[in-house]
């Protein structure tokens, strides 16, 4: 079905919680669930969407350029949500930006889907 749950994405400090599907990028999961913040190319080339990974682990199924996200940054817990896929539950914190609900309709649908899945 392609909707297999991969993990919960929690965005600090606003405590927004969305569900990521298997192989879904963090940013895609947020957008699909009605949330957004300041992002750029959405392809890993500009680094505008960079965030701090406070908890959990992510992987990068596609190559990300070192000049955009350096190995040192990764070691320091920085992630690139447009290209990062969560493995299990993760907590990320935005830099110089706050998460916004960009579609209350999508947010309510995603919340309902998430509730139905857990009951």
């Amino acid at each position: 079905m392609g909707s297999e749950r991969a993990g919960i994405v929690r965005v600090a400090p606003d405590d927004i919680v969305v569900t990521a599907k298997k192989d879904e990028y963090i940013l895609s999961a947020l957008n699909r669930s009605g949330y957004g913040y300041r992002t750029g190319c959405r392809r890993g080339g500009c680094g505008i969407c960079k965030a701090d990974l406070l908890e959990g682990t992510v992987t990068y199924p596609v190559t990300v350029a070192d000049e955009v996200l350096s190995p040192t940054e990764i070691a320091d817990g920085v992630c690139l949500p447009c290209r990062a896929v969560p493995h299990g539950n993760v907590v990320v914190q935005l830099r110089d930006d706050r998460i916004r609900c960009t579609s209350s309709f999508l947010a309510s649908l995603a919340a309902r889907e998430s509730r139905e899945r857990t009951t």
């Binding site: 392809r43 080339g45 500009c46 596609v62």
Partner: protein, 304 residues
């Protein structure tokens, strides 16, 4: 004597296979040469061997090539660039595959420009004898040719002066803080032909790429390109819409590495004695995106 057009854009991509899907399957370019870690591509209505070079590793622009009319032009522009104070060096035939002798110039903006007078001509997909108006089996968007690029520079004034004084370009449109004599130049759109721009610069960090563009015929082709982008899950930045500056129809979008591309249609015919249009920053949003009249954050922050 003149610089004729943007001949090639050489860019870095993080994944060559992904880039190949984007530039070949989505945009419709065709590979003319493969080297380890590098692809050379051309569009269907271009005669020369390649107009795009993709190199695996990183993201952003490596260099660009502008074709000049004659071999003699090379030394003329080399001298003019040196007199202006730019670092130059000669390049020899074959340093770039299928490209002849040339001159490398480090621009006041930090970008690397290669001028060359000859590239192997392999012809368009329709030929020059009783040609069809387009190839029957175009792939994806099927862009006919590269058109222009927009780069950033910390000193628009000096960069513009270089292109006018050393390379013989002329400005078609300029963006400045006010209409006063002491106004600060924020952007310049420059032509060396009759197209509305062959290169443009806006204020920003040196040596960065904002986008490079492929030409399309008209508005309906822009709309069709948008549909192909939806089919192929291309990350679209803005559009379809129209620019106030140049009047061109446009979609800004990103390649799989995050480099910004554009499909661009129309724009008026430019000529040397056509007075340059002046935009002031109070109406910048309308100049950039004429329909929405809003400039998003990405327009100035996403550079590679």
């Amino acid at each position: 004597m003149s610089v004729t057009r943007l001949g090639y854009m050489h860019a870095r991509v993080t994944d060559l296979a992904e880039a190949k899907r984007h530039y070949c399957d989505t945009l419709g370019l065709r590979i003319t040469l493969e080297e380890p870690g590098k692809l050379y591509l051309k569009a269907w209505d271009e005669f020369d061997h390649h107009s795009v070079v993709l190199e695996e590793g990183g993201v952003g622009m490596v260099k660009m090539g502008y074709k000049v009319e004659t071999d003699e032009d090379l030394s003329t522009y080399e001298n003019a660039a040196r007199e202006f104070g730019c670092v130059t060096e000669r390049m020899t035939k074959g340093e770039n595959p299928e490209v002849g002798d040339g001159v490398r110039i480090v621009l006041p903006s930090g970008h690397l420009l290669e001028l060359y007078s000859q590239m192997t001509c392999i012809g368009t997909d329709v030929g020059i004898h009783n040609p069809e108006v387009f190839p029957r089996h175009l792939v994806g968007v099927g862009v006919p040719r590269v058109d222009h690029c927009l780069l950033t520079t910390s000193d628009v004034q000096t960069t513009e002066r270089f292109f006018i004084e050393a390379l013989g370009f002329y400005p078609t449109e300029r963006l400045q803080t006010t209409l006063e004599d002491d106004a600060h130049l924020i952007g310049t759109w420059l032509s060396t032909s009759n197209t509305v721009h062959d290169i443009a610069f806006i204020e920003g960090p040196d040596n960065k790429l904002h986008h490079w563009a492929f030409e399309l015929g008209d508005w309906s082709a822009i709309g069709r390109a948008g549909s192909i982008f939806a089919m192929d899950d291309v990350s679209v930045d803005v559009g379809p819409t129209q620019h106030g500056i140049t009047r061109g129809g446009t979609i800004y979008f990103f390649d799989p590495a995050g480099n910004r591309n554009e499909v661009f249609s129309g724009g008026y015919v430019a000529y040397r004695d056509r007075p340059a249009v002046t935009w002031t920053v109070d109406d910048l949003a309308k100049g950039i995106f004429y329909v929405q009249r809003e400039v998003n954050e990405r327009f100035t922050s996403v550079l590679t």
